[in-house]
Amino acid sequence: MEPGTRDTVTRAAGWLAGAVAGLALVVAGTAKAMHPATFVADIWSYHLVPESWAYWIAVFLPWLEIVAGAALITHRLHTGARLVAAGMFIVFAVALAISWARGLDVACGCFGGGPPSAAGATNYPWLITRDLLLLACLAVEPWLARRTTKRTQTRP
């Protein structure tokens, strides 16, 4: 493959991978932005933040997800968007892992519930795998960019 063509394919692959993660964020944010009252009640029910904070978190966080997801899809401000997305995916994965280790059932209905599992039991392997795959999507573009740079440097 011609170097120019290879660079184009590499860039497209990086963009596509980032867009997949971006789309996941947009969907997640939209689902929560459409039901702010329920989201507020959810956040408030854990009594970890004051009620006024719960409102701001419930209203702001979904929109941050949507904006970061849109930034990944459109490849604008994508460095910052990747940082926001990676932070969310990492925190989510860690929280799921701890929850799994402690035997908690969070009955996460992510994207329609995932593969069937025992009634009422959270399917942690599936949830964590899906989250890590999305995290991996964010890493594709920087990894491919680093490979392209190395190839350019070693090319005679």
Binding site: A33, H35, P36, A37, V40, Y55, V59, F60, W63, L64, I66, V67, A68, A71, L77, H78, T79, G80, A81, R82, L83, V84
Partner: protein
């Protein structure tokens, strides 16, 4: 540094629709925040009315006997048409009707308010927070 700068820009961009949602989303209006349905009223609102009020108690007989809003009439959902007579005996067309049950979690007052409207009464509301809210509002210090 570039990443952090972009994160700040993203946060600022996200803050705009978030602020709009806080101001305009129907679920986040003042009444919706407190879970108020359109026909629900709070004790303080009822106290401010100038029209006469007929209180309708939707709880069971034992709860009614333990305590009820002064002058309230009990409406038994299990024998709706028969117990409606007691409500109508106390009602007049110039009155506003407020139905209450135990707490905010109880849906009986909302359901009976709807049945009273279908029965022909106008200006029927249900009390948000129920007997619990009324008792709190009228607790002697």
């Amino acid at each position: 540094m570039k990443a952090l700068r972009e994160v700040c820009v993203l946060a600022a961009v996200a803050a705009l629709p978030a602020a709009l949602a806080l101001a305009l989303h129907p679920e986040l209006t003042d009444r919706a925040r407190t879970g108020l349905a359109p026909d629900a009223v709070r004790p303080a609102e009822v106290a401010a009315w100038t029209a006469p009020v007929l209180w309708v108690d939707a709880r069971d007989a034992a709860a009614f006997a333990r305590g009820h809003v002064p002058g309230a009439v009990r409406l038994d959902e299990d024998n709706f048409s028969a117990s409606l007579g007691g409500v109508l005996a106390a009602w007049s067309p110039d009155m506003r009707v407020v139905v209450y049950c135990d707490t905010a979690a109880c849906s009986r007052s909302r359901e009976l308010a709807q049945r009273l409207r279908e029965a022909g009464l106008s200006e029927v509301h249900h009390l948000h927070g129920g007997w619990e809210a009324w008792s709190r509002a009228h607790a002697t210090p």
